[in-house]
């Protein structure tokens, strides 16, 4: 009797508790991957730094007019990582930059994810129709165009600001996500539960949001994490070319300042090296976490 009740109950588990079980299962697997955990530890550090940055650095610390230390000062007890051309502490700039760089990276990746998921699911779910052909051509076109040339053209037109950098990166990087999601949606579409959902009178919207999306989501999730790494690198590239924000400090703009300030020939390593090292760590961390999730969530890789 006891057992019978148990079974009856387990049949009625809500989709949410089922998803929760899957999620905790994935998390348990993730915890066993060394790469993933190292990446996560690095990320936790930088995210905490980014969140706490307003407490650690005030806007006055970043104001060139209020800088009190001598310019181009090597690391010392006054400024652990020396100062820039205005006499601002490079460490302060780094802490403030963590917030901006992560913000740009994450929002741009989320933007690319939204566009990519929308286009990819629409194309895949309606695979073989005219809509699919059109969306596929559209996606392929964006895949072919050299992203940096397109980004430069877009950024030059839109103007250099933080929001525009995010828009430009999202527009130039959604296409690979769309292709991935389309392939996944195409395979999900063939599964019996989709036909069942349609046969029971579920609308396209219902079928897509309740059945296709949850099954595409794991792939999308891992891809988005990898995309953050790319977005941070893209922001750096745009910043070096002078196309990022002029008013807020990101790791990319610190590098740009060091570059235009001639840090390489003058040997001001403390100005040039730290922002790049931060970028390498964060990009590596996102990549490691992304790969770890990719291995857990995509069956093809798991078998290998």
């Amino acid at each position: 009797m006891e057992q019978h009740v148990e079974i009856a109950r387990s049949r009625r588990v809500s989709p949410w508790s089922r998803r929760w079980t899957t999620l905790t299962g994935h998390w348990a697997t993730f915890r066993t991957t060394r790469r993933g955990m190292v990446g996560l530890a690095i990320l936790t550090f930088f995210v905490a730094l980014a969140i706490a940055s307003p407490l650690l650095v005030s806007p006055d610390d970043l104001d060139p007019a209020l800088a009190s230390l001598p310019p181009h000062m090597p690391p010392s007890t006054q400024a652990w990582l020396g100062t820039d051309n205005f006499g601002r502490s490079v460490l302060d700039l780094l802490i403030a930059g963590a917030r901006v760089s992560l913000l740009v990276g994450i929002t741009a990746a989320l933007g690319a994810m939204l566009i990519g998921a929308f286009v990819g699911i629409s194309a895949g779910y309606f695979g073989g129709t005219k809509l699919d052909t059109f969306l596929n051509a559209f996606t392929n076109w964006f895949l072919v165009i050299p992203w940096l040339a397109l980004a430069i053209a877009l950024a030059a037109i839109l103007g250099a600001s933080l929001v525009n950098v995010i828009i430009v990166i999202a527009i130039t990087s959604w296409a690979s996500t769309a292709r991935l999601v389309r392939a996944q949606a195409l395979s999900v579409r063939e599964r019996p539960y989709i036909e069942r959902s349609r046969a029971l009178g579920g609308s396209h919207w219902h079928t897509v949001t309740r059945h296709v999306l949850p099954n595409v989501f794991p792939v999308l999730f891992a891809n988005t994490i990898l995309m953050v790494a790319l977005a941070i690198l893209s922001e750096t590239t745009l910043a070096i070319l002078g196309l990022s924000s002029r008013t807020s400090t990101s790791w990319g703009t610190i590098i740009e300042d060091a570059f235009t300030g001639g840090a390489m020939t003058a040997g001001w390593w403390w100005w040039l090296i730290p922002p790049g090292v931060c970028i390498v760590f964060v990009t590596l961390a996102f990549t490691m976490v992304g790969f770890a999730f990719d291995e857990i969530l995509s069956p093809r890789l798991r078998e290998r």
């Binding site: 040339a149 877009l154 750096t236 002078g242």
Partner: protein, 321 residues
Amino acid sequence: MGSRRYLLSKCLQAVVTLWFVLTFNFFLFRVLPGDPIGLLARSEHFTPEDVARLRHDQGLDLPMAEQYVVYLKDIATGNLGESLRTGIPVNELIGSRMRPTVLLVGLGTILASWLGVLIGIRGGWRRGSRFDTTSQYSSLVLYAMPEGWLGMLLLLFFSGWLHWFPAGGYASADETGVAYLVDLLDHLFLPLLTLTLGYIGGYAIVMRSSMIDTINEDFVHTARAKGVPDRLVRRKHVVPNAFLPSFTLIILSFGFVLGGAIVIETVYSWPGLGLLTYNAINTKDYPVIQGVFLIASAAVILANLVADITYGYLDPRIKQA
């Protein structure tokens, strides 16, 4: 699908993509926030007369449809407009900057793909070996480095501290013969190193993973079962088949030759298309930016076409699909 039709459909695809680029470029610089002149007028104090005159010069006062026809005609005859700053025709500007870029990125692509493929072969063949893990981690770290920053780092070490190489620029035009060549190599070394390091990982990763895929194919087991020596299995059976994806990647990267080194050229003041673009960004010289965008895209489309066609011949299965 016959090979004639395959060829034709690929060419048609390339033409359509190119037309898309042209149209996109047309609207990008006319429909978004304002036309180039409007953008310039916003940042610099132009009188309304200046704006009207410039607009007329650029043909921006014509109806949109007419502008579009004029634009397509211009492009077809190789006219990409004139620089807003110097008045020099954009196609001449691009032409004069082509050589340094092709030299740098062409050599860089050859070096990076050659070394990357070798690393990938070795790592994929002995998966999990020390060589494999080391090269995997190095690829990962190189991938995570912004290439511009890597360039600055090398510049700091080799030029700023050690003074082994010049801080950028191109060979001096006063030199001739061997002296010119030496001067050129002196200036070329660091940008080439940066480019090679930046791209090597991608080739290594692709080659490695296709090696791993191919090793488990039936014909490899057959070759081993026949008693073919390990070395020959690798050289004759695995590598030629595993090389296909890398081959496509290499052909495709040649498409990025023109637009590929914008950041590195900027860092090393290498006077190619990239530096031209950087200067155009800073002076808001929109016709030049447009021109570079068009040329870079056209190169990639062409490379894609070449890759599709050669791939069709190398792997006949593709044509059937």
